[in-house]
Amino acid sequence: MGLTTEGILFLVIAWGCIIILTAYCFIKVFKSERKKN
């Protein structure tokens, strides 16, 4: 069977979106915490 090109594409896009969103959120959270302190 193996991972098809579409499969790799879906995996990369899904992981990429989630990693970017999570990183963005946590950077914002830490920045706002630092500002308040």
Binding site: G2, L3, T4, L11, C17, I18, I19, K28, E33
Partner: protein, 522 residues
């Protein structure tokens, strides 16, 4: 009120980890990969992400908004929160559903959680090592649960003892309070959960093809099983409903727990960024870690047909039968097994303490109990009720509670809260509440999504589940004859819990009225 000051979260990151801990549960690691694999693989991610945007994130913000608004009026549970947003004497009774759902789920969830603690001990002590077939491993699990007797466990004593340990840990955390208990737990358990998840995912990805003579059985074919898209399935409405259901379950919305946590925020604290961060953290645990562990490793060791069989057997088969078999085949398997089940335990306990908080907050805020008394009161009720779950497990007692409280009840409650907040309280006021003190602005499109699309999607899911699942379950169409009295027993227990909570809500509000009159007379 017993205390003049309500408790507060120590730090923002502590709150985010606590709410993420509430959302991240066993389903992230066991339910999601099965759902994805069975519903179109990579194509499943299309409806999954669409519903994440139109259902998951909006509901998160709605619940954070309702919760923080309720906290402003010293209400930490749904009855008081609904009473604030809807000036109608029925509002608080709708809120009682939020208490019922969280408490009922807590009753059986702590027991399931105790299995993960038990299996982490069985892994490190290699207790099940030597059981190399699915049948014998299943027999090990079932005899531990008391579903059958075998040479592994002749009594329920080990399961009962570990349930008591889990029960004690849960209530000890609740007893310690918001900042010193729940937040502290989240700050320890969540980083460990992610660390264990990453260690396991890396170990599994580097397994490659464990048996070179069977090249089809590889980790990459496991990833292919989950991620290769089958676009033809997108025409099937079942796939879309499965994706909506998964988003709904994974974020732990519709149970009153997020409201309770958010009620301990200050009125100007951010909820827009916190709600989004919580959702993103949950997705990281689910899509990246959850999809990289159980299914890929099962395909690598057992091949695709056997993995499909495990997946059809459900989440417990995958987690408690397939995984222990695999741990026996890899070097240091006892340690990886220990990490896997401890990861599930951390995922479980951070969720179950959240389920206890709404009732504790209700007793504190509406009856003026101090926290310790409120926690002990809840502990006594849960301990009595869990006995039925333990001893009648094999008769479907737990499944019945899980369906009505943990599945159908959630969507009903989520629909009620969305309508109350976005339509009765008013979309403009709700929007202002959610954006108040926000560290990020919520994009305006979500105003329309929350007002129109989210309730519509919830209504469709509710009707679909009612017709397809609720009616057959209610009419006992697939129930074994010997289980019928126990299923009715579960229903009676749930009705008693709900009626008891409604009575308490009524009593609390009568007390409030009497206190107000007394103050006026003074």
């Amino acid at each position: 009120m017993a205390n003049n000051e309500r408790e507060q979260w120590g730090t923002k990151i502590g709150l985010i980890l606590a709410v993420a801990g509430n959302a991240i549960g066993l389903g992230n690691f066991l339910r999601f990969p099965v759902q994805a694999a069975q519903n179109g693989g990579g194509a499943f991610m299309i409806p999954y992400f669409i519903f994440f945007l139109i259902l998951g994130i909006p509901l998160m913000w709605i619940e954070w908004g309702i919760g923080r608004n309720g906290g402003r009026y010293r209400h930490g549970s749904a009855p008081g929160m609904f009473d604030v947003i809807w000036k109608n004497k029925m509002a608080k009774y709708f809120g009682a559903l939020g208490l019922f759902i969280s408490m009922t789920i807590m009753i059986y969830y702590t027991y399931i959680e105790s299995w993960t603690l038990g299996f982490s001990i069985f892994s490190i002590s290699q207790m099940y090592f030597g059981e190399t077939s699915a049948e014998s491993m299943r027999s090990f699990l079932y005899s531990y649960q008391g579903r059958e007797t075998s040479e592994f466990f002749s009594t329920l004593l080990p399961a009962y003892g570990l349930m008591l340990v889990t029960f004690f840990l849960n209530f000890w955390v609740l007893y310690k309070g918001i900042s010193k208990g729940i937040e502290k737990l989240a700050k320890i358990a969540m980083p460990l959960l992610f660390l264990f998840g990453i260690i396991l995912a890396v170990r599994i990805i580097t397994l490659g093809t464990p048996d070179p003579s069977m090249p089809e059985n590889s980790v990459w074919n496991g990833f292919a099983f989950i991620w290769n898209p089958d676009f033809s399935q997108l025409n099937n409405p079942t796939i879309w409903l499965a994706a909506a259901g998964q988003i709904f379950f994974t974020l732990s919305v519709g149970m009153g727990t997020i409201h309770a946590y958010a009620s301990y925020l200050k009125p100007k604290d951010d909820i827009a960024l916190s709600g989004l961060t919580t959702s993103a953290t949950n997705e990281f645990a689910e899509v990246i870690l959850g999809a990289s562990i159980a299914i890929p490793v099962a395909v690598a060791f057992f091949g695709l047909p056997a993995t499909q069989e495990f997946a059809r057997g459900g989440a417990f088969d995958l987690g408690f039968v397939s995984m222990p078999l695999i741990f026996q085949k890899i070097p240091l398997g006892e340690i990886f097994g220990f990490l896997w089940f401890l990861l599930l335990f951390f995922a479980g306990i951070t969720s179950s303490v959240a389920m206890g908080q709404p009732v504790v907050a209700f007793l504190e805020d509406e009856f003026g109990m101090d926290r310790h008394k409120a926690v002990i009161t809840l502990a006594v009720v849960v301990l009595i009720a869990v006995q039925f779950v333990i001893f009648f497990l094999r008769f479907g007692f737990l499944d019945e509670m899980d369906y009505w409280a943990g599945t159908f009840g959630l969507v009903v409650f989520a629909l009620i809260e969305t309508i109350l907040f976005m339509w009765v309280f008013g979309a403009d006021k709700a929007w202002a509440e959610m954006n108040e003190g926000g560290d990020i602005p919520i994009p305006k499109i979500f105003y329309y999504i929350m007002k129109f699309i989210t309730p519509l999607v919830l209504f469709i899911i509710m009707v679909w589940w009612f017709v397809n699942d609720a009616v057959p379950i209610l009419l006992l169409r697939n129930a074994a004859p010997e289980s019928v009295p126990y299923i009715w027993g579960a229903r009676v227990l749930m009705v008693l819990v709900f009626v008891g909570l409604v009575y308490m809500v009524n009593k609390a509000w009568r007390n409030h009225t009497e206190q107000s009159l007394h103050k006026l007379n003074e």
